[in-house]
Protein backbone atom coordinates (compact mmCIF):
# COMPACT_ATOMS: atom_id res chain seq x y z
CA UNK A 1 0.00 0.00 0.00
CA UNK A 2 2.71 2.41 1.03
CA UNK A 3 4.80 1.38 -1.96
CA UNK A 4 2.11 2.34 -4.42
CA UNK A 5 1.48 5.63 -2.70
CA UNK A 6 5.13 6.48 -3.08
CA UNK A 7 5.38 5.56 -6.76
CA UNK A 8 2.29 7.55 -7.53
CA UNK A 9 3.55 10.50 -5.58
CA UNK A 10 6.88 10.22 -7.39
CA UNK A 11 5.27 10.31 -10.81
CA UNK A 12 3.24 13.30 -9.69
CA UNK A 13 6.48 14.89 -8.57
CA UNK A 14 7.91 14.36 -12.03
CA UNK A 15 4.91 15.99 -13.67
CA UNK A 16 5.21 18.85 -11.23
CA UNK A 17 8.88 19.34 -12.04
CA UNK A 18 8.02 19.81 -15.70
CA UNK A 19 5.29 22.23 -14.81
CA UNK A 20 7.37 24.32 -12.49
CA UNK A 21 10.14 24.88 -15.00
CA UNK A 22 7.90 27.61 -16.31
CA UNK A 23 6.73 28.64 -12.86
CA UNK A 24 10.05 30.00 -11.73
CA UNK A 25 9.72 33.22 -13.63
CA UNK A 26 6.05 33.24 -14.43
CA UNK A 27 3.75 31.38 -12.16
CA UNK A 28 0.37 30.21 -13.31
CA UNK A 29 -2.15 32.97 -13.50
CA UNK A 30 -5.62 32.78 -12.10
CA UNK A 31 -8.06 34.82 -14.14
CA UNK A 32 -10.12 37.21 -12.11
CA UNK A 33 -13.36 35.22 -12.50
CA UNK A 34 -11.77 31.91 -11.53
CA UNK A 35 -11.02 32.89 -8.01
CA UNK A 36 -14.64 33.46 -7.12
CA UNK A 37 -15.84 29.91 -7.40
CA UNK A 38 -14.22 26.99 -5.66
CA UNK A 39 -13.61 23.82 -7.59
CA UNK A 40 -14.39 21.37 -4.83
CA UNK A 41 -12.21 21.31 -1.73
CA UNK A 42 -8.73 20.11 -0.80
CA UNK A 43 -8.50 16.54 0.43
CA UNK A 44 -9.55 16.14 4.06
CA UNK A 45 -10.92 19.70 4.32
CA UNK A 46 -14.53 20.74 4.89
CA UNK A 47 -14.23 24.47 4.13
CA UNK A 48 -11.60 26.94 2.94
CA UNK A 49 -13.35 30.10 4.16
CA UNK A 50 -14.44 30.86 7.68
CA UNK A 51 -15.96 33.83 9.47
CA UNK A 52 -13.67 35.42 12.07
CA UNK A 53 -14.55 34.58 15.67
CA UNK A 54 -14.70 38.27 16.63
CA UNK A 55 -15.68 41.43 14.76
CA UNK A 56 -12.62 43.42 15.75
CA UNK A 57 -10.23 41.53 13.47
CA UNK A 58 -9.03 43.09 10.19
CA UNK A 59 -10.58 40.46 7.88
CA UNK A 60 -14.28 39.99 7.04
CA UNK A 61 -13.57 36.49 5.94
CA UNK A 62 -10.59 34.23 6.57
CA UNK A 63 -9.61 32.43 3.38
CA UNK A 64 -7.12 29.64 2.80
CA UNK A 65 -4.35 30.22 0.26
CA UNK A 66 -5.68 27.19 -1.63
CA UNK A 67 -8.62 29.25 -2.84
CA UNK A 68 -6.33 31.64 -4.73
CA UNK A 69 -4.28 29.07 -6.63
CA UNK A 70 -4.75 27.93 -10.23
CA UNK A 71 -6.89 24.90 -11.02
CA UNK A 72 -3.80 22.76 -11.72
CA UNK A 73 -2.22 23.59 -8.38
CA UNK A 74 -5.52 23.09 -6.55
CA UNK A 75 -5.94 19.68 -8.16
CA UNK A 76 -2.65 18.46 -6.71
CA UNK A 77 -4.09 18.97 -3.25
CA UNK A 78 -7.36 17.25 -3.97
CA UNK A 79 -5.96 13.74 -4.16
CA UNK A 80 -3.41 12.54 -1.59
CA UNK A 81 -1.84 10.25 -4.17
CA UNK A 82 -1.09 13.23 -6.40
CA UNK A 83 0.15 15.41 -3.55
CA UNK A 84 3.97 15.36 -3.60
CA UNK A 85 4.05 16.59 0.01
CA UNK A 86 3.10 13.10 1.16
CA UNK A 87 6.65 11.92 0.49
CA UNK A 88 7.69 13.96 3.52
CA UNK A 89 4.72 12.87 5.61
CA UNK A 90 5.68 9.23 5.00
CA UNK A 91 9.31 9.89 5.88
CA UNK A 92 8.12 11.51 9.10
CA UNK A 93 6.10 8.44 9.96
CA UNK A 94 9.24 6.32 9.57
CA UNK A 95 11.31 8.68 11.72
CA UNK A 96 8.68 8.52 14.45
CA UNK A 97 9.62 4.92 15.23
CA UNK A 98 13.35 5.24 14.47
CA UNK A 99 15.65 5.06 17.52
CA UNK A 100 18.19 7.86 17.78
CA UNK A 101 20.43 9.46 20.44
CA UNK A 102 22.15 8.35 23.61
CA UNK A 103 19.04 7.05 25.37
CA UNK A 104 18.16 4.41 22.79
CA UNK A 105 14.67 5.79 22.34
CA UNK A 106 12.38 6.88 19.54
CA UNK A 107 9.46 9.30 19.66
CA UNK A 108 7.26 6.23 19.87
CA UNK A 109 8.91 5.15 23.15
CA UNK A 110 7.20 8.02 24.97
CA UNK A 111 4.31 9.04 22.73
CA UNK A 112 3.27 5.61 21.40
CA UNK A 113 0.56 5.80 18.73
CA UNK A 114 0.91 9.20 17.07
CA UNK A 115 -2.62 9.04 15.64
CA UNK A 116 -3.79 9.31 19.25
CA UNK A 117 -1.04 11.21 21.07
CA UNK A 118 -0.44 13.81 18.36
CA UNK A 119 -3.96 14.36 17.05
CA UNK A 120 -4.80 18.06 17.32
CA UNK A 121 -1.32 19.01 18.56
CA UNK A 122 -0.34 20.65 15.26
CA UNK A 123 -3.47 22.84 15.33
CA UNK A 124 -2.47 24.41 18.66
CA UNK A 125 1.12 25.29 17.84
CA UNK A 126 2.99 27.47 18.74
CA UNK A 127 2.24 26.64 22.36
CA UNK A 128 3.34 28.12 25.66
CA UNK A 129 5.96 26.02 27.48
CA UNK A 130 5.62 26.58 31.22
CA UNK A 131 9.06 25.20 32.00
CA UNK A 132 10.94 27.26 29.42
CA UNK A 133 8.62 30.24 29.97
CA UNK A 134 8.29 30.87 26.26
CA UNK A 135 6.22 29.66 23.33
CA UNK A 136 7.55 26.80 21.22
CA UNK A 137 6.80 26.25 17.55
CA UNK A 138 6.35 22.65 16.43
CA UNK A 139 9.97 22.61 15.23
CA UNK A 140 11.23 23.87 18.59
CA UNK A 141 9.05 21.34 20.47
CA UNK A 142 10.42 18.49 18.35
CA UNK A 143 13.99 19.63 19.00
CA UNK A 144 13.35 19.92 22.75
CA UNK A 145 12.17 16.31 22.73
CA UNK A 146 15.15 15.28 20.64
CA UNK A 147 17.71 16.75 23.02
CA UNK A 148 15.92 16.03 26.32
CA UNK A 149 13.88 12.93 25.44
CA UNK A 150 16.22 11.09 23.06
CA UNK A 151 19.60 12.57 23.98
CA UNK A 152 20.04 13.33 20.29
CA UNK A 153 21.24 16.37 18.37
CA UNK A 154 18.79 19.03 17.23
CA UNK A 155 17.61 18.86 13.66
CA UNK A 156 18.30 21.93 11.53
CA UNK A 157 15.20 24.04 10.85
CA UNK A 158 14.97 23.32 7.13
CA UNK A 159 16.47 19.80 7.19
CA UNK A 160 14.73 16.90 5.50
CA UNK A 161 14.18 15.27 8.90
CA UNK A 162 12.62 18.32 10.53
CA UNK A 163 10.38 19.02 7.53
CA UNK A 164 9.29 15.37 7.45
CA UNK A 165 8.53 15.17 11.16
CA UNK A 166 6.64 18.49 11.29
CA UNK A 167 4.70 17.63 8.11
CA UNK A 168 3.81 14.26 9.65
CA UNK A 169 2.64 15.72 12.95
CA UNK A 170 0.70 18.62 11.39
CA UNK A 171 -0.93 16.22 8.95
CA UNK A 172 -2.39 14.32 11.91
CA UNK A 173 -4.42 17.50 12.61
CA UNK A 174 -5.58 17.95 9.04
CA UNK A 175 -9.14 19.25 8.88
CA UNK A 176 -8.98 20.56 12.45
CA UNK A 177 -9.31 24.33 12.98
CA UNK A 178 -6.22 26.35 13.91
CA UNK A 179 -6.65 27.23 17.55
CA UNK A 180 -3.59 28.83 19.03
CA UNK A 181 -3.65 30.25 22.57
CA UNK A 182 -3.54 34.04 22.33
CA UNK A 183 -4.22 35.19 25.89
CA UNK A 184 -2.26 34.99 29.12
CA UNK A 185 1.49 34.72 28.64
CA UNK A 186 1.00 34.47 24.86
CA UNK A 187 -0.47 37.96 24.61
CA UNK A 188 2.80 39.91 24.35
CA UNK A 189 3.92 37.50 21.61
CA UNK A 190 0.74 38.10 19.61
CA UNK A 191 1.33 41.86 19.98
CA UNK A 192 4.95 41.57 18.91
CA UNK A 193 3.94 39.53 15.85
CA UNK A 194 1.23 42.00 14.94
CA UNK A 195 3.69 44.84 15.16
CA UNK A 196 6.04 43.07 12.74
CA UNK A 197 3.11 42.30 10.41
CA UNK A 198 2.23 45.99 10.04
CA UNK A 199 5.76 47.44 9.93
CA UNK A 200 7.09 48.54 6.55
CA UNK A 201 10.49 47.12 5.74
CA UNK A 202 13.00 46.88 2.94
CA UNK A 203 13.94 49.07 0.01
CA UNK A 204 10.40 48.61 -1.35
CA UNK A 205 9.15 49.78 2.04
CA UNK A 206 6.20 47.42 2.40
CA UNK A 207 4.53 45.56 5.25
CA UNK A 208 2.94 42.12 5.15
CA UNK A 209 -0.43 43.85 5.33
CA UNK A 210 0.20 45.93 2.18
CA UNK A 211 0.04 42.75 0.12
CA UNK A 212 -1.90 40.19 2.18
CA UNK A 213 -4.53 42.46 3.76
CA UNK A 214 -4.95 45.43 1.41
CA UNK A 215 -4.57 43.60 -1.89
CA UNK A 216 -5.48 39.93 -1.56
CA UNK A 217 -7.46 38.62 -4.52
CA UNK A 218 -5.50 40.81 -6.95
CA UNK A 219 -2.66 39.89 -9.27
CA UNK A 220 0.81 41.18 -8.54
CA UNK A 221 2.55 40.47 -11.82
CA UNK A 222 1.88 36.74 -12.40
CA UNK A 223 1.04 35.94 -8.81
CA UNK A 224 -2.44 35.97 -7.36
CA UNK A 225 -2.22 37.43 -3.85
CA UNK A 226 -3.74 35.42 -0.99
CA UNK A 227 -4.18 36.43 2.63
CA UNK A 228 -0.81 34.81 3.41
CA UNK A 229 -2.33 32.31 5.85
CA UNK A 230 -0.27 29.70 7.66
CA UNK A 231 -2.69 26.74 7.81
CA UNK A 232 -1.00 24.69 5.07
CA UNK A 233 2.55 24.55 6.44
CA UNK A 234 4.89 22.83 5.97
CA UNK A 235 3.79 23.39 2.37
CA UNK A 236 4.93 21.79 -0.86
CA UNK A 237 5.89 24.60 -3.24
CA UNK A 238 6.24 23.95 -6.95
CA UNK A 239 8.85 26.71 -7.06
CA UNK A 240 10.94 25.03 -4.35
CA UNK A 241 10.20 21.54 -5.67
CA UNK A 242 10.04 20.43 -2.08
CA UNK A 243 8.26 21.01 1.13
CA UNK A 244 9.26 24.08 3.14
CA UNK A 245 8.64 25.64 6.53
CA UNK A 246 6.53 28.70 7.27
CA UNK A 247 9.65 30.60 8.33
CA UNK A 248 11.24 29.90 4.96
CA UNK A 249 8.20 31.51 3.34
CA UNK A 250 8.49 34.52 5.67
CA UNK A 251 12.11 34.86 4.59
CA UNK A 252 11.16 34.75 0.91
CA UNK A 253 8.49 37.44 1.30
CA UNK A 254 10.92 39.71 3.17
CA UNK A 255 13.67 39.19 0.60
CA UNK A 256 11.27 40.06 -2.22
CA UNK A 257 10.75 43.49 -0.72
CA UNK A 258 14.52 43.80 -0.33
CA UNK A 259 14.54 43.56 3.45
CA UNK A 260 16.97 41.62 5.64
CA UNK A 261 14.84 38.71 6.87
CA UNK A 262 14.83 37.56 10.47
CA UNK A 263 16.31 34.11 11.08
CA UNK A 264 14.12 30.97 11.01
CA UNK A 265 13.36 30.14 14.63
CA UNK A 266 14.11 33.72 15.81
CA UNK A 267 11.78 35.26 18.38
CA UNK A 268 10.57 37.64 15.66
CA UNK A 269 9.48 34.84 13.32
CA UNK A 270 8.01 32.85 16.23
CA UNK A 271 5.96 35.93 17.17
CA UNK A 272 4.91 36.42 13.53
CA UNK A 273 3.86 32.76 13.36
CA UNK A 274 1.80 33.11 16.54
CA UNK A 275 0.13 36.25 15.21
CA UNK A 276 -0.65 34.59 11.85
CA UNK A 277 -2.11 31.53 13.60
CA UNK A 278 -4.33 33.88 15.61
CA UNK A 279 -5.24 35.84 12.46
CA UNK A 280 -6.25 32.63 10.73
CA UNK A 281 -7.97 31.09 13.76
CA UNK A 282 -10.66 28.64 12.68
CA UNK A 283 -9.10 27.88 9.30
CA UNK A 284 -8.55 24.16 8.86
CA UNK A 285 -5.05 22.67 8.85
CA UNK A 286 -4.22 21.54 5.29
CA UNK A 287 -0.70 20.17 5.76
CA UNK A 288 0.82 19.28 3.38
CA UNK A 289 -0.70 22.04 1.25
CA UNK A 290 0.44 22.52 -2.35
CA UNK A 291 1.21 26.02 -3.60
CA UNK A 292 3.03 27.44 -6.62
Amino acid sequence: MKGTAKTKALSALFAVTMLSATSIFYMQVVKAGDSLKDDGLPSGISKVKVKPATDDGPLDEIISGWHFRSKETKNLQQDDFENPGYLWVEQGEELWATKDGSKGKSCKSCHDDPAKSMKGVGANMPKWDAKLKRPLTLEQRVNTCRTQGLGAKEWKWESREMLSMTAFIRNLSRGMPMNVQADGPMKPWVEKGKNIYYTRVGQLNMSCSNCHEDNYGKNIRADHLSQGQSNGFPTYRLKWQKIGSLHRRFKGCMKNIRATPYKPGSDEFVALEIYLSQRGKGLEIETPAVRN
Binding site: A21, T22, F25, Q203, N205, M206, D214, N219, M254, A259
Partner: protein, 161 residues
Protein backbone atom coordinates in the same frame (compact mmCIF):
# COMPACT_ATOMS: atom_id res chain seq x y z
CA UNK B 1 3.64 28.19 -25.26
CA UNK B 2 6.15 26.74 -22.84
CA UNK B 3 8.95 27.55 -25.24
CA UNK B 4 7.81 31.12 -25.56
CA UNK B 5 7.85 31.47 -21.78
CA UNK B 6 11.43 30.23 -21.58
CA UNK B 7 12.48 32.76 -24.15
CA UNK B 8 10.85 35.50 -22.14
CA UNK B 9 12.60 34.35 -18.99
CA UNK B 10 15.97 34.36 -20.74
CA UNK B 11 15.30 37.83 -22.11
CA UNK B 12 14.42 39.04 -18.64
CA UNK B 13 17.78 37.78 -17.40
CA UNK B 14 19.69 39.43 -20.21
CA UNK B 15 17.65 42.56 -19.63
CA UNK B 16 18.69 42.59 -16.02
CA UNK B 17 22.42 42.44 -16.73
CA UNK B 18 22.19 44.97 -19.53
CA UNK B 19 20.33 47.24 -17.17
CA UNK B 20 22.88 47.10 -14.41
CA UNK B 21 25.71 48.07 -16.71
CA UNK B 22 23.56 50.91 -18.06
CA UNK B 23 23.12 52.42 -14.61
CA UNK B 24 26.74 53.31 -14.07
CA UNK B 25 27.19 54.76 -17.55
CA UNK B 26 24.10 56.92 -17.23
CA UNK B 27 24.91 58.09 -13.74
CA UNK B 28 28.45 59.08 -14.64
CA UNK B 29 27.40 61.21 -17.59
CA UNK B 30 24.25 62.78 -16.26
CA UNK B 31 25.08 64.33 -12.87
CA UNK B 32 21.84 63.50 -11.11
CA UNK B 33 20.35 65.59 -8.30
CA UNK B 34 20.95 63.46 -5.21
CA UNK B 35 17.83 62.02 -3.50
CA UNK B 36 18.26 64.13 -0.36
CA UNK B 37 18.15 67.34 -2.43
CA UNK B 38 14.87 66.53 -4.19
CA UNK B 39 11.82 68.41 -2.86
CA UNK B 40 8.19 67.67 -3.68
CA UNK B 41 6.10 70.86 -3.72
CA UNK B 42 2.32 70.60 -4.16
CA UNK B 43 2.63 67.12 -5.63
CA UNK B 44 5.22 68.26 -8.17
CA UNK B 45 8.95 68.22 -8.83
CA UNK B 46 9.57 70.78 -11.56
CA UNK B 47 13.32 70.36 -12.13
CA UNK B 48 14.48 67.19 -13.88
CA UNK B 49 16.79 64.95 -11.83
CA UNK B 50 19.50 64.94 -14.52
CA UNK B 51 20.87 67.20 -17.27
CA UNK B 52 20.32 64.56 -19.90
CA UNK B 53 16.75 64.36 -21.28
CA UNK B 54 14.89 61.12 -20.61
CA UNK B 55 14.93 58.42 -23.27
CA UNK B 56 11.46 56.91 -23.78
CA UNK B 57 12.76 53.67 -25.32
CA UNK B 58 14.97 53.02 -22.29
CA UNK B 59 12.12 54.05 -20.02
CA UNK B 60 9.92 51.42 -21.60
CA UNK B 61 12.51 48.78 -20.65
CA UNK B 62 12.83 49.99 -17.07
CA UNK B 63 9.03 49.97 -16.75
CA UNK B 64 8.83 46.22 -17.43
CA UNK B 65 12.15 45.15 -15.90
CA UNK B 66 11.62 43.15 -12.71
CA UNK B 67 14.87 44.30 -11.15
CA UNK B 68 14.21 47.98 -11.84
CA UNK B 69 10.84 49.69 -12.14
CA UNK B 70 8.81 46.48 -12.25
CA UNK B 71 5.90 48.85 -12.74
CA UNK B 72 4.11 46.14 -14.70
CA UNK B 73 3.90 44.11 -11.48
CA UNK B 74 1.22 46.52 -10.26
CA UNK B 75 -0.07 48.36 -13.36
CA UNK B 76 -1.88 47.21 -16.48
CA UNK B 77 -0.34 48.88 -19.54
CA UNK B 78 -2.07 48.40 -22.89
CA UNK B 79 1.05 49.64 -24.71
CA UNK B 80 2.66 46.38 -23.51
CA UNK B 81 -0.25 44.11 -24.33
CA UNK B 82 2.13 41.62 -25.96
CA UNK B 83 3.81 41.02 -22.58
CA UNK B 84 2.08 38.61 -20.19
CA UNK B 85 1.06 39.21 -16.58
CA UNK B 86 0.12 42.78 -15.90
CA UNK B 87 -0.57 43.38 -12.23
CA UNK B 88 -3.74 44.96 -10.92
CA UNK B 89 -2.65 46.54 -7.63
CA UNK B 90 -2.68 50.13 -8.98
CA UNK B 91 -4.73 51.78 -11.75
CA UNK B 92 -3.95 51.09 -15.43
CA UNK B 93 -1.41 53.58 -16.80
CA UNK B 94 -3.19 53.82 -20.15
CA UNK B 95 -3.40 57.49 -21.25
CA UNK B 96 -1.52 58.56 -18.13
CA UNK B 97 0.07 61.44 -20.11
CA UNK B 98 -3.39 63.04 -20.39
CA UNK B 99 -3.85 62.98 -16.60
CA UNK B 100 -0.49 64.17 -15.24
CA UNK B 101 2.17 66.74 -16.10
CA UNK B 102 5.87 65.73 -16.21
CA UNK B 103 6.41 67.47 -12.84
CA UNK B 104 3.58 65.45 -11.28
CA UNK B 105 4.85 62.18 -12.74
CA UNK B 106 8.30 62.98 -11.36
CA UNK B 107 6.86 63.40 -7.87
CA UNK B 108 4.84 60.16 -8.16
CA UNK B 109 7.95 58.25 -9.19
CA UNK B 110 10.37 59.81 -6.74
CA UNK B 111 8.12 59.55 -3.67
CA UNK B 112 4.63 58.15 -4.27
CA UNK B 113 3.72 58.76 -0.62
CA UNK B 114 4.13 62.51 -1.04
CA UNK B 115 1.35 62.40 -3.66
CA UNK B 116 -0.96 59.54 -2.64
CA UNK B 117 -0.43 59.56 1.13
CA UNK B 118 1.45 57.35 3.55
CA UNK B 119 -0.77 54.32 3.11
CA UNK B 120 0.09 53.74 -0.56
CA UNK B 121 1.80 50.48 -1.50
CA UNK B 122 3.63 52.12 -4.43
CA UNK B 123 7.34 52.38 -3.56
CA UNK B 124 9.31 55.63 -3.73
CA UNK B 125 11.77 54.92 -6.51
CA UNK B 126 14.24 57.70 -5.72
CA UNK B 127 14.41 57.45 -1.94
CA UNK B 128 17.28 56.15 0.17
CA UNK B 129 16.47 53.54 2.85
CA UNK B 130 12.78 54.37 3.26
CA UNK B 131 11.91 51.20 5.22
CA UNK B 132 13.55 49.49 8.21
CA UNK B 133 15.90 46.52 7.70
CA UNK B 134 16.86 47.37 4.13
CA UNK B 135 18.92 44.45 2.79
CA UNK B 136 22.66 45.10 2.73
CA UNK B 137 22.84 44.90 -1.04
CA UNK B 138 20.36 47.78 -1.37
CA UNK B 139 21.46 49.91 1.60
CA UNK B 140 22.14 53.52 0.71
CA UNK B 141 20.77 53.01 -2.80
CA UNK B 142 17.67 54.12 -4.64
CA UNK B 143 15.58 51.60 -6.62
CA UNK B 144 16.08 53.63 -9.80
CA UNK B 145 18.83 56.05 -10.78
CA UNK B 146 17.88 59.66 -11.50
CA UNK B 147 18.36 59.00 -15.21
CA UNK B 148 16.10 55.95 -15.11
CA UNK B 149 13.37 58.04 -13.45
CA UNK B 150 13.68 60.62 -16.26
CA UNK B 151 13.60 57.84 -18.88
CA UNK B 152 10.40 56.41 -17.41
CA UNK B 153 8.79 59.86 -17.32
CA UNK B 154 9.68 60.28 -21.01
CA UNK B 155 8.07 56.92 -21.69
CA UNK B 156 4.92 57.66 -19.65
CA UNK B 157 4.51 60.90 -21.62
CA UNK B 158 4.13 58.79 -24.79
CA UNK B 159 1.09 57.04 -23.29
CA UNK B 160 -1.68 59.26 -24.66
CA UNK B 161 -4.33 56.62 -25.32
Amino acid sequence: MKKAMHTIAVCALIGATAASSAISINDASANPVTPDKVKVVDGKIKTPLTNKPGNAADGKNWFANRKLGNCLACHVNQDMSSKPFHGEIGPAVNAVATRYSPAQLRAILVDAKSVFGDQTIMPGFYKVDPGQRVAKKFKGKTILSGQQVEDIIAYLLTLKK
